[in-house]
């Protein structure tokens, strides 16, 4: 069992992170370059961080970037690591990690639904939650819920009010 500081030291030595932070007890955050991500995840997986909780995507519209966050957990160290990388918002393309965790293909499909990010190597990118969606992916910050509603649906009168 390793402490947070030992894990930080290990990450700094073995990987090539842009930034490693201790957010709070049992929680670390690692920022990586795009190219480093898959190999780093592979390394962390071999070191016991084999529980992939989920993959999150955050739309940083002001920086014109999407941030992909991979939440790993080790049952031995009892530490959560959020491994993060930023991709260009316009291109919105990244590589799949389904060869490391097969379950990730569905998380990636989910992100594709809601953010429109393509994952190279994951060829099953059918709609998962949404159906026949042809607008901006809904979780992007520039998708405005109310505009969409006004455009797609008709306001009906209800008790004399619109």
């Amino acid at each position: 069992m390793k402490t947070e500081n030992e894990v930080i030291k290990l990450i700094k030595e073995k990987l090539n992170p842009l930034e490693v932070n201790k957010l709070r007890a049992q929680n670390l955050a690692v920022k990586l370059e795009n190219e480093e991500l898959v190999s780093s995840l592979n390394y962390l997986k071999s070191k016991g961080y084999s529980h992939l909780a989920t993959i999150s995507c955050v739309d940083w519209i002001e920086d014109n970037e999407f941030e992909l966050v991979y939440h790993l957990f080790s049952y031995e160290d009892k530490i959560n690591i959020s491994v993060k990388t930023r991709i260009d918002r316009k291109k919105s393309k990244f590589v799949t990690i389904k060869n490391l965790w097969a379950v990730a293909q569905y998380y990636e499909r989910d992100i594709h639904d809601f953010f429109g990010v393509e994952f190279e190597g994951n060829d099953d990118m059918e709609e998962l939650i949404l159906e026949n969606w042809n607008d901006t992916p809904p979780m992007r910050k520039d998708f405005k819920t109310r505009d969409y509603v006004n455009e797609k649906f008709e306001w009906r009168e209800y008790h004399g009010q619109k």
């Binding site: 959560n80 379950v103 998380y107």
Partner: protein, 378 residues
């Protein structure tokens, strides 16, 4: 929907396509499994999710921090308090807010009550899946007594909106604690032995659950499955012990485990966990300290925390419930991502693990693995 048989090279003439759900008494919620079967065995399956998508994550970005407490509990009907707790924990982690001791104790009591009702309901639901409707109704009844207490404490039966950032909404009366203890006594002495006779000594339940819906340890770890499903494979992993929250580091309890990894083992674990929860609540009520039950965070509509992020998790009745929360320092959350417990099993698990199951066992598979569609449709 895409062609279900895409890539499948098996003889199509022998197989029949079946749409299981989205409206079916055997599925837990509006969620479908589309599968091909040959004889009476499933050969390939695909999840058909999305019927319950209500856009929670988007809605949360458009509401002030406090307003979301009334929203998150609706993400999973079975685990409302768990969602409130994770949300509050995320807020407190980013804002570095210290929650008073008494609030932590009350939160843990509420969470354990929630666990008991979820387990009873789940055991009842599993009985429904194999046709033991009496046990199902008994499960609903036993759960209702706990909901009565929830109503007394919070004013709501199913959705409580009780745990909020900074503590809990208000204190619990001593007389209510006494009612809770009486209820636990009744549960332990009367109801659980009845369930034992009705369900666990029932030959039908044993035949249908034993060796059904087996999920081995390797697959469970590979998929990121947690909770009783993982513990049924012999591992003692529980978020309450791994990353203690609430008052769990101050109580003494055991983590029941099993070895056969089938539906039967999972049901027995849930039964054992009910006894553990009863034990935890008794300890918490005995040792509960006095003091405030929340910290003053100012005007509720003007809650503000600094920039930051947190991945927080809680042990729900079915395993790890996680939220990834990001704050940009404004009045509303910048991003909240919900990791429902059954996400890996309900999506990828159906494709990878369901094939090989008999048609009649598909409801047992879905119920005993705790598939809860609203949490991955969100």
């Amino acid at each position: 929907m895409k062609n279900l048989n895409g890539g499948n090279t098996m003889d199509k003439s022998k197989m029949t396509e079946m749409f299981f759900g989205p409206n079916h008494p055997g599925v837990p919620g509006n969620y479908g499994i589309n599968y091909f079967y040959e004889g009476d065995t499933v050969v390939s399956a695909e999840p058909n999710a999305g019927h319950l998508h209500r856009g929670f994550e988007k809605l949360m970005e458009e509401r002030e921090w406090i307003k979301n407490t009334a929203l998150v509990c609706r993400i999973c009907v079975m685990e409302p308090d768990i969602n409130e707790m994770v949300y509050a924990m995320g807020y407190e982690a980013i804002g570095e807010i210290e929650v008073p001791k008494r609030a932590q104790y009350i939160r843990s009591i509420i969470l354990e009550m929630a666990r008991i009702q979820a387990h009873i309901f789940s055991i009842g639901g599993n009985c429904g899946a194999i046709g033991l409707y009496t046990a199902m109704h008994w499960g609903v009844l036993a759960r209702d007594y706990i909901l009565d207490l929830f109503e007394e404490i919070t004013g709501g039966r199913v959705y409580h909106i009780y745990i909020r950032p900074g503590g809990v909404r208000h204190d619990i009366e001593t007389s209510t604690f006494q009612k809770l203890l009486d209820l636990l006594d009744d549960l332990e002495k009367n109801r659980m032995p009845e369930f034992e006779k009705l369900i666990f000594e029932n030959p039908t339940a044993q035949k249908r659950w034993k060796s059904t819906a087996v999920l081995n340890q390797e697959d469970a770890l590979r998929l990121g499955v947690t909770g009783p499903t993982l513990r049924a494979t012999g591992l003692e992993h529980d978020v309450r012990k791994l990353m203690p929250y609430g008052a769990y580091d101050e109580v003494d309890f055991e983590i029941p485990t099993g070895n056969n990894a089938d539906a039967w083992t999972r049901m027995k674990l849930k039964r054992d966990e009910i006894f553990q929860s009863i034990n935890i609540i008794r300890q918490l009520i005995k040792n509960i300290p006095d003091g405030p039950v929340s910290v003053n965070l100012g005007n509720a509509l003007k809650y503000r925390i600094p920039k930051g992020e947190a991945y927080v998790k809680v042990e729900s009745g079915r395993g790890e419930y996680g939220y990834y929360m990001v704050s940009d320092g404004s009045l509303k959350p910048y991003r909240v991502h919900v990791r429902g417990t059954s996400t890996p099993l309900g999506l990828y698990g159906v494709e990878a693990l369901l094939p090989g199951t008999r048609i009649e066992d598909v409801p047992v598979w879905a119920h005993s693995l705790g598939i809860c569609p609203p949490e991955f449709d969100r």
